[in-house]
Amino acid sequence: MAFIEATDLVKTYSPKGSPQVRALDGLNLEVQQGSVTALLGPNGAGKTTTVKVLTTLIQPDSGSAFINGVDVVAEPQAIRRMIGASGQYAAVDQNLTGFENLVMVGKLYHLGTRVARQRATELIELFDLVESQNRTVKGYSGGMRRRIDLAGALVIRPPVLFLDEPTTGLDPRSRLGLWEVIEQLVADGTTVLLTTQYLEEADRLADSISVIDNGRVIAKGTADELKASIGGLRVAVTLVDESQSEAARTLLTRFGSGETAVLNGRTLVVPVQDGPHALAAIVSAAAAEGIGLHDAGMRRPTLDDVFLQLTGRTAEADETETEGAA
């Protein structure tokens, strides 16, 4: 049995005035001990709901989940003694200092005052917060809040760590800093389940990636396997005139190695084998056929491309859906 094992998880919501939402629709997940697994998907795909079920915050309508053989639904307190959880919304008390926040968490894990203070001191050093440890969190930057929140998840040195979009909304430098901390934890053997919207993040941190959409896993594998499955480089062009999109699609498909996707009317993307060569060929063919290009370039596969390939539609990152559906 895998360290984390979820089987056929179903969770539905009935928001007032709108049709029922199946946040989880038969989701299966296995996470091996000591590995990092990423749940990759757009907002509303069911990533956060999965984490909420596994961290005992919500109960599934049906299905089962076990962590190290302990039933998540039947024995939530036993689960809480072995997990650490940190989310995209830093859940720390704004009116307490960084140090006080960590001591409070330690006391609520019933470690006793002495051990709680000792552990808080260690974590403050690990997360490079020594200078600001006695200031209230209210004055912390976004990156610092995220760090103190993550530190809170590590108070008991949990064997399992859940990270729900740990770097969403962070600037690139803070993101890099957080990645380094997570990598260090992984090197120490912690089992990690993280959710992310960024292929790059999953790529860097995860041993295994489960792509989820509409509440179920639609593909899984290592980062390399997933990338290989959706092909390599893309050529993307932006048209001057939207009415030429059909002509442009035919043209791109001729030089590409897969189907051409039309994003928001004017932008078209096609997977290609030999990037520079295909780009040059497309640009000159477009000029010859009188298709005006505003922009043309090569890029690496993105989450959008994975989705496009797997679902035939784009992974819309609709911010307004984050709250309820996620």
Binding site: G87, E100, G112, R119
Partner: protein, 283 residues
């Protein structure tokens, strides 16, 4: 990786020995401490919850005091029990908005992933209100004494009156905490509670003798639990005006029993409701 993994798992920190009761007390103390720290770190909360009752004492004493003729010690002594009751009822709304805010901030989610007692979070929350309400009472009493309020009862009766007011506010905090967990934003609690609490405190005997009210309002006032609270405090502080008419309704005749029954019912209903609600909420 396998070797380092086993050491990490082995070093996972274990809780110190303890039983359910000591853990509950410890969790309750930690969350109470957290709420007290907020009062210290955000002094505006306390400041406004103190200024408002002082302002009410002064406004009512000097604006209405001249117009409303109360025999005996006069309007100020009549008024104080009413202001106390109004303040502790409004003071309890803080539990609602603070609970809604904690939920929105994700702190409740954090607490719910910890192996702590959920009930302790609620106890810590309502304890925080109790501290604010106690401080408000002290400041109001000082202000009342300055503008002519006098206690005409034994110290024991006086303490019983204060105790009854705080007990009522404590029970009401649980009602508000439940509402706080049931709404989507803290602002809703503030607005909604005003709609309910203003009529509840004003259609009562808090600020004017209820026998002068039009019949439908008078009947409401006589059955209003806030009236019973005010009447209890007035009796226990020795502030009942001579010759005051007491309504025929049972609560008006038995105010202290009414308050005690009311508090028991509120706690018996809302403590379990809150605990059950808390066990399933998430931001």
């Amino acid at each position: 990786m396998t070797t380092t993994m086993s050491t990490t798992t082995a070093t996972t920190l274990r809780p110190i020995p303890g039983n359910a009761v000591t853990r509950f007390l410890s969790d309750g103390w930690v969350t109470t401490w957290r709420n007290l720290m907020k009062i210290i770190r955000v002094p505006e909360i306390l400041l406004f919850s103190l200024i408002q009752p002082v302002m009410f004492v002064l406004l009512f004493t000097y604006v209405f005091g001249a117009a409303i003729d109360i025999p005996g010690d006069g309007y100020t002594s009549f008024l104080m029990a009413g202001i106390f009751a109004q303040t502790v009822v409004f003071g309890s709304t803080y539990s609602g908005s603070a609970m809604a805010q904690d939920l929105k901030d994700g702190i409740i989610d954090r607490f719910r992933t910890l192996p702590m007692s959920g009930a302790a979070v609620l106890v810590g929350r309502t304890n925080g209100d109790l501290v604010i309400n106690t401080l408000s009472m002290l400041v109001m009493m000082g202000t009342g004494l300055l503008v002519g309020w006098r206690v005409n009862s034994s110290p024991l009766e006086f303490l019983a009156g204060v105790g009854l007011l705080l007990l009522f506010s404590y029970a009401f905090s649980w009602v508000m905490a439940f509402l706080g967990m049931s709404v989507k934003s803290p602002e809703i609690i503030n607005n909604a509670s005003f709609l309910v609490l203003f009529p509840l405190t004003f259609i009562s005997n808090a600020f004017v003798p209820s026998e002068n009210l039009p019949t439908p309002l008078r009947i409401f006032a006589e059955w209003n639990p806030v009236s019973a609270l005010v009447q209890s405090a007035r009796e226990l502080f020795g502030n009942v005006p001579p010759g005051a008419v007491v309504g025929d309704a049972w609560p008006a005749q038995n105010p202290i029993a009414t308050v005690l029954i009311g508090v028991t019912v509120l706690l018996a209903v809302f403590v379990p409701l809150c605990i059950r609600k808390f066990a399933t909420i998430s931001r």
